[in-house]
Symmetry: C2
Subunit: 326 residues, 2 copies
DNA sequence: CTGAAAGCGCTTACAG
DNA sequence: CTGAAAGCGCTTACAG
């Protein structure tokens, strides 16, 4: 059964048949108790800029599942990298290899750097799970995250439904769009919703704001909004509070705003009715599930689903309280 | 430590101090392996009228968690009752008591009958968890389900947001509203949203349809819809496909419809754009979580949260595919 | 190579 | 009453 040594082929088949007949299920408790084998997992996520930052949340879910699996000898070593420095990704990937974990969860944020990391993981036969974004067919054990294109479709549908008239502005708040495939996909889904569903009675405009350190960016936006009869704003990421501030400052009563993620300030604007919808993706659950994938595959030796698209949650003032807990 | 017999108070305190100092955590694996104690749980849910019915779903989640907990000696005995017969609730409650389970999950559908069941459970010291609806302060271990009032608020908000003009019809499809506290709460939340948020520019109407065995009910509804300039329909439960059929039959292009639950036919209407939103509550997850509560409390002897309000999910054509899996 | 013993961290039936 | 042995279902180091 354990493929330990030489057994006559016929005997082996006989035994395996009996195993099947009896529907023998090895007792995982006894097994882990006896083996006393420790399992070390590692995570590599972007470092959150503050304790309020998005990437704290997957880490919370990771910790929760690890705690539950403590009894099975599972432990975690978390690593983070700087989102602005590919080099820090490489450095921390090296560190992970040096502790030689049984499994890894990471966000393949930088494509090139991720690919060389993956090469090394494959060489060493270390299974890995993607979180948040994914590289297709890279040999991953699985992916936990959202379908960004489809999420853009949801935003398009919602904004169109609630807008009696007027045009729409899509706002990217991002330093380097190149590294933000998410945002590109969301915008694409958003635009395509209108292409598929409407005889283009509305105009869509897109703008990128790369620097919010001063308020200079605002003038141009305000200008656009007035000139182009903008009645709806879609912010492609969690920076929707910038749009909320704008709407509040200028008192645009009939402006409808949609953005992403349950950051504290975003929820505040939601509650003030200055933002109508936040599209969310349960990051804690994603962290939890990513570790669970490793556990099922490595410890329980079970098959797991390759893709695990998180639900695209539509959050309003009225149901937000049921999404904040984990 | 186990309070087995007489131990000098001072020794006991000393030992417990050491336990604390070492932060000793008993090994649950070894414990369950050694004790070989079986844990029998029971569920008491309404019997689903067909394999497509709502109450199959919590049962799926129950089964999943039970399977995972098999290793811990946890097993389940499911019971169902007829939603139209309080007597069948009593009968099955009796059966449950006769098998003497360690814990119970049930839907307190009939108030009076549930209360007498609860009395007996308390006498025998059997912990129980409510699912789907709750009786407050009844000594339950916890509650897993939705906040129906708040869910009605969500529906009110959505329908108002997407309706440029026109009035609204609230439809109850139910035999006996008395036993359907859910529906009453949803309606109340729905009405109150308009009371709180609008200077009542729209009229709201409510209708109860208790018999759908023939098509007679339709005439009156169609009449109302035309006469009262109804542009929005809110169906308080999963029977929203009846409204979908109506909209399809009469080709009401600008009618907006909101209802509940991901039944197959409802999803069909959602995909056809005849229903705009389905409000959902992840019934499989509820079943899963209810069993998990019993497990944590009875087997792991951990504290658990009393209330576990499920998220109020807003589902559209665009995100429905991410809610169907479990 | 391979069978059988020791041991994982507990619980419980049992002897004293 | 209470200490110590046997055993839960496995894994692994070891003897033959």
């Amino acid at each position: 059964m354990h493929d330990r040594g030489e057994v006559a082929e016929i005997t082996k088949r006989k035994i395996l048949q009996i195993v099947k007949d009896l529907n023998y299920q090895p007792n995982l408790l006894a097994s882990t108790l006896a083996s006393k084998k420790p399992y070390l997992f590692a995570t590599l996520f972007p470092a959150p800029p503050s304790s309020d930052g998005y990437w704290n949340k997957p880490a919370i879910g990771v910790k929760k599942r690890i705690q539950e699996l403590n009894q099975f000898g599972v432990d975690i070593q978390p690593f983070t990298f700087n989102q602005a420095e590919p080099k820090s990704f490489i450095e921390n990937a090296e560190k992970i290899l040096s502790i030689n974990p049984e499994g890894i969860v990471f966000a393949p944020f930088f494509k090139k750097e991720s690919e060389s990391f993956i090469e090394q993981l494959k060489e060493r036969n270390i299974p890995f799970v993607f979180i948040d974004s994914e590289i297709k067919l890279a040999g991953q054990l699985g992916y936990v995250g959202q379908n960004s294109y489809q999420s853009g479709m949801v935003s398009g549908k919602l904004l169109d439904l609630i807008l009696p008239e007027g045009n729409i502005l899509v706002m990217h708040f991002a330093k380097e769009m190149d590294n933000q495939n998410h945002l590109v996909q969301r915008e694409k889904g958003f635009y395509n919703w209108f292409k598929k569903n409407k005889q283009t009675t509305r105009q869509l405009y897109t703008t990128e704001i790369s620097d919010t350190s001063s308020d200079i960016w605002m003038d141009q936006i305000v200008n656009t909004i007035h000139k182009k009869n903008i009645k709806g704003i879609f912010v492609t990421n969690s920076k929707v509070y910038y749009a909320g501030r704008l709407v509040e400052k200028f008192g645009w009563d009939d402006m409808k705003v949609i953005g992403h993620d349950l950051l504290r300030e975003n929820v505040l604007f939601l509650k003030k009715n200055l933002v109508q919808f936040l599209i969310c993706q349960r990051p804690e659950e994603q962290g939890y599930n990513s570790i669970n994938k490793l556990f099922k595959y490595i410890v329980q030796k079970k098959g797991i689903a390759k893709e695990n698209y998180t639900s695209i949650d539509i959050v309003t003032k009225e149901n937000v309280d049921f999404y904040k807990e984990f």
